[in-house]
Amino acid sequence: MAAGLCPGRALLSRRGGALWALLGPARGLAAGPETHFGFQNVSEAERREKIYQVFENVAEKYDVMNDSMSLGIHRVWKDILVHKMNPSPGTLLVDVAGGTGDIAFRFLNYVRSVRERQLQQKLRHQQNLSWQEISKSYQEEKSNPLGDSQVVVCDINREMLKAGKQKAQHLGYSEGLSWVLGNAEELPFDDDKFDVYTIAFGIRNVTRIDLALQEAYRVLKPGGRFLCLEFSHVSNPLLSRLYDLYSFQVIPVLGEVIAGDWKSYQYLVESIRRFPPQEELKAMVEDAGFLRVDYQNLNSGIVAIHSGFKL
């Protein structure tokens, strides 16, 4: 089982290993249909448990590892996602599998700067204001810098949320931000609540992608937008070989050297290979009911942004 991942003491197997071995054949019945964990075949329950453990282990060094594995390019990808979203002040965003809050913070920065620009525009158009009116507009800017925009960060993993909250505190984000523990396959929100739903580098770890997409459809308001940023398939053969070489040779080594965790990063690169390619994911998004579904490849398909609307 998980012991196959590493001949030594496999961290992942230690907790569940003995118990799973005891359950044996009963496991097959209770734990759900077969799915994959990296290149292994496991049951659905096992996969959820293993992925939870992976993110529990990586939570602390998540941002450092992202920077070192992608050489900082992941920041550009996330910036592009938020620019594509182009949120206006007053937008309600739910960032699922938002973990350490990268998308949420970018969203808040974006709406804040849009709001500032709006207020400046307003001032410029009203040249003959009295000084009282000008100071009132400054107060308005101070009291409502986000223009009632809000972001809810939802993640299934407590450690990731903890890391995210610490980061928010460290960077000084407090307003318009909330943190919720929840499962993407079963969101703890009402129907028709959010303007935008994003899931960045998270949908790969969801066990039932179709359920997650259905939930996304449910919680979005009519007119709401679904955005998914995820690793995808590279069609260019030369780039694909270089990418494979880098993924399988370098990334686990980086994981071992920086975070002391080879297996989690081996899982990462394997899970990217098992994820459906662009067209297949587009079809799944359409199946969930979204319209005008499209995707944009970044870096020749290393990453793709899928977008759809609930109309």
Binding site: G8, Q249, V253
Partner: protein, 286 residues
């Protein structure tokens, strides 16, 4: 001496696939292809589960599937060297450095063990030093000056435990993996025999001794770069007294991995030092 059974070779070939190409690797099969594995499978009482002692009749070496390619090992060696130098408290990186750079020194060390009767017995029985196999109460009850008592005192004074040693993850050969594991576990006993504490200076001295004894590149690097973190006074003590003594002792002593420490707890530290050939430590405060 019988070499690998024909049945086993195809299994090994199937298992030794390149992990780097994204092809699913067969997992979960033990590479223990001995036909009589059920019958001749011998476990020493101290052997860890999954580390069965090799069948002495066939006396073959099994390849472990470490799951890392040569390129990965090279990258690991470079990366772990940098991290270990930058943060010497990353013991896992020091361990990885030892495993990935030991490909030349470990076979030599294994051969030295094989050519010595006590060392050969250690390779056969594969004892492990961990809290579960040591009878700490009995060792604590031994008279002062005995190896057992001093070892326990060392563990308690420095607040270390033999269980914190990482298993070997990147050594492909199973016997060599045991050799490096034994080296790690005996490291604390080295501290006891040399009388060195676990501060930076003590560790550097032990590294010098081990570098001379084992020739492992990790020890050589540690001995060469460890002193970077010491202040001038300690460097002086190190250079004038400790290193010459460690090197002399290392040269004079027989291979420290050839001593079956688990059977010598009652022996006094002085007599063991004399037997191995370690000179008495200089009278300096470390």
């Amino acid at each position: 001496m019988l070499r690998g059974v024909a049945v086993r070779v195809p299994l090994l070939r199937a298992v030794r696939g390149a992990p780097g190409k994204g092809t699913p690797r067969p997992r979960g099969r033990s590479s223990r292809g001995c036909r009589d594995s059920e019958l001749c499978h011998r476990r020493s009482p101290q052997a860890e589960p999954g580390w069965a002692a090799p069948c002495p009749a066939l006396r073959r070496r099994r390849r472990r599937k470490s799951g890392s390619s040569p390129l990965q090992k090279a990258l690991l060696a470079a990366g772990s060297a940098c991290v270990a130098l930058w943060d010497p408290y990353r013991h896992d990186m020091v361990a990885v450095l030892g495993e990935t750079t030991g490909c030349l020194a470990l076979p030599k060390l294994r051969d030295r063990m094989r050519n010595d009767p006590e060392g050969y017995r250690i390779l056969q029985e594969r004892p492990r030093i961990r809290l579960s196999t040591l009878d700490m109460a009995r060792l604590r009850g031994l008279p002062d000056g005995t190896l057992g008592r001093e070892y326990v005192r060392f563990l308690e004074d420095n607040k270390v435990s033999p269980d914190t040693r990482m298993p070997a993850k990147f050594v492909d050969d199973e016997e060599l993996a045991y050799v490096i594991q034994r080296y790690r576990e005996v490291h604390d006993l080295m501290h006891t025999l040399l009388g060195m504490p676990t501060n930076m200076l003590g560790e550097v001295v032990v590294k010098w001794f081990e570098a001379v004894q084992t020739g492992l590149p990790m020890c050589v690097l540690g001995a060469a770069f460890g002193p970077i973190r010491l202040n001038a006074r300690k460097l002086q003590v190190l250079a004038t007294e400790l290193v010459p003594w460690a090197v002399r002792s290392g040269r004079n002593a027989s291979c420290v991995l050839n001593v079956y420490y688990e059977q010598r707890w009652e022996q006094s530290v002085e007599s063991l030092r004399e037997e191995i050939g370690i000179f008495p430590p200089p009278a300096v405060r470390v």
